[in-house]
């Protein structure tokens, strides 16, 4: 079957939107890894909680923009709560122990949604169309996709401005590069852990809300999205924010464009394929930062 240009461009557009979501989620995860030095599986649940805070806020009658704000803050609050209640108690343990603990936290947070959220909303749609966009040259563009892309770009820009132009952001980068060095300079790394956790959780919240906008809100919304996000973080060079964003975009586009030739159930494998090819050709990550 011949593939029309407009169909291919639609896949490409879908890939760009998907890639922006992976990039955003990858950025939050890599920021957390940079300072805390372990892979946090519960990150997917920070995303899910962000989505549910927004959904439930909308259900109780808040305007959708306000509901998004609640979700964003909610993601940060859940991340800080998990860090203070659980992860800080294991802060002197090895990354493997923390990884296993994070699997437990992930399980608990996911099931708390099932327990606390009224059953009619455990799988739900936001039911909003924020923009109406006409098809351009036969390319199918959904209004919510445009919103997702715009919010992703805005959030990514904001986080990079924070990291590069503010003293707090520079201190975060310093502590992420070398925690000991930050300590001997008197940088309060404990306070930074709270800031980075809040930032990572907030970014996860935004990614979760947008993922809900793109599909539907379910308790495992973030968990099932983790494979391409992890692939982006590893391919980008763990702890490297720019690398995570670039790799996220590449994986998203590869996943959607691959639908031209393979069935959708194989899409997660594409992320891993890109990861393997990427690591074979750029073993130190997209921009050469050593993968720890």
């Amino acid at each position: 079957m011949a593939l029309s240009l407009s169909t291919f461009l639609t896949f490409l557009w879908n890939g760009l939107v998907e890639g922006s979501l992976i990039a955003l989620a990858g950025l939050g995860l890599t920021l957390l890894f940079g300072l805390l030095n372990f892979i946090n599986i519960a990150y997917g649940e920070y995303m899910a909680w962000g989505a549910y805070f927004t959904l439930l806020s909308k259900v109780i009658g808040l305007p959708f923009v306000a509901a998004i704000l609640v979700g964003v803050i909610g993601g940060g609050v859940v991340a800080i709560a998990a860090d203070r209640i659980v992860f800080q108690n294991f802060s002197n343990r090895s990354p493997v122990v923390l990884l296993v603990v994070s699997i437990g936290v992930s399980f608990i947070l996911r099931n708390l949604i099932r327990l606390l959220v009224p059953s009619q909303y455990t799988t739900a749609l936001y039911g909003v169309e924020l923009l109406h966009v006409p098809n351009i040259a036969g390319i199918t563009i959904l209004g919510n996709q445009v919103v997702v892309l715009m919010l992703s770009v805005l959030t990514l820009s904001g986080v990079f401005l924070l990291l590069n132009r503010t003293r707090i952001g520079i201190a975060m980068r310093a502590a992420s590069d070398d925690t000991d060095l930050a300590r001997i300079r008197g940088i309060d790394t404990d306070r930074l852990v709270i800031y980075v956790t809040a930032l990572g959780g907030t970014v996860a919240g935004i990614a979760g809300i947008m993922l809900g906008l793109e599909s539907q809100v379910t308790p495992s919304l973030g968990f099932t999205f983790l494979i391409p996000v992890f692939a982006a973080v590893i391919l980008g060079g763990i702890g490297d924010p720019v690398g995570a964003v670039v790799a996220g975009l590449a994986i998203g586009i590869a996943q959607k464009v691959s639908l031209v030739i393979i069935p959708s159930e194989y899409t997660p494998a594409i992320a891993l394929l890109v990861l393997i090819i990427g690591l074979l050709t750029r073993p130190d990550g997209v921009f050469g930062e050593a993968t720890r």
Binding site: R167, R173, D177, D180, L181, R183, I184, R185, G186
Partner: protein, 271 residues
Amino acid sequence: MSDNQQFDQNGASDSNGVILETKDVSKSFGGLVAVDNVSVKINEGEITGLIGPNGAGKSTLFNLLSGFLKVNQGQVLLNGQDVTDMRSDERARNGLIRTFQITRELSGMTVIENMMLGAKNNPGEDVLATLVKRDEVSQFEQEKRERAQELLKYLELWDLRDEYAGNLSGGQRKLLELGRSLMADPEVLLLDEPMAGVNPDLTDHILDRIMTLREEKGMSFLIVEHDIQAIMNISDTVIGMHQGKILVSDEPEVVQEDEELLKAYLGGGQV
């Protein structure tokens, strides 16, 4: 001690001219006693050298003083105040700054950005202050940038200010580390092998700057160094360690002749 309970920066305490002190400090790793019941005093405004053969316990003592390791027993006092339970970043904010044997610069940041990170108690690193005390944050930033520029000129790194730290030579990195430490206006500076891997011209430059800082600013130094001659030349007091214990602590001329220390080095070779 909380961040707000910082010491009197004039050093008005019952320290009697001693800026940094350990009392009967010990540290073991499994069955190995790395530092064994050590009591040392670093006098205010002096350069104190710390020497000893490999495995003497110098680095462990450095880590105990700077808070990178916790003592098994004993006390660490800074300006007469007990800082034994204080974290390394809290000690740094109270005037105790250290460097590492292998320089640790933030290679992806420029020289001047690395210097700016050295400024302690930066209100810009606090979210609340950043939001509500913008003038204070901006003024602090301006003052510290001027200070960084001044120090870079003093250390002859000015021409490299916009270079990525990762591109500097080993000697230049040592100077950058010294500069970044000075940005914190330390009361006592712990230098871990500041001359290691540095060419002779830069070594003289670093030594000259250390001596000048001691003489003009009254800064106190504790220096671990394998270049024994250099340490003897610049130190007011030299501490000799071996197998986790202090063998001698005296003026350089006396330490040079210490029989026990001579034995510790190469079975009796010249110190």
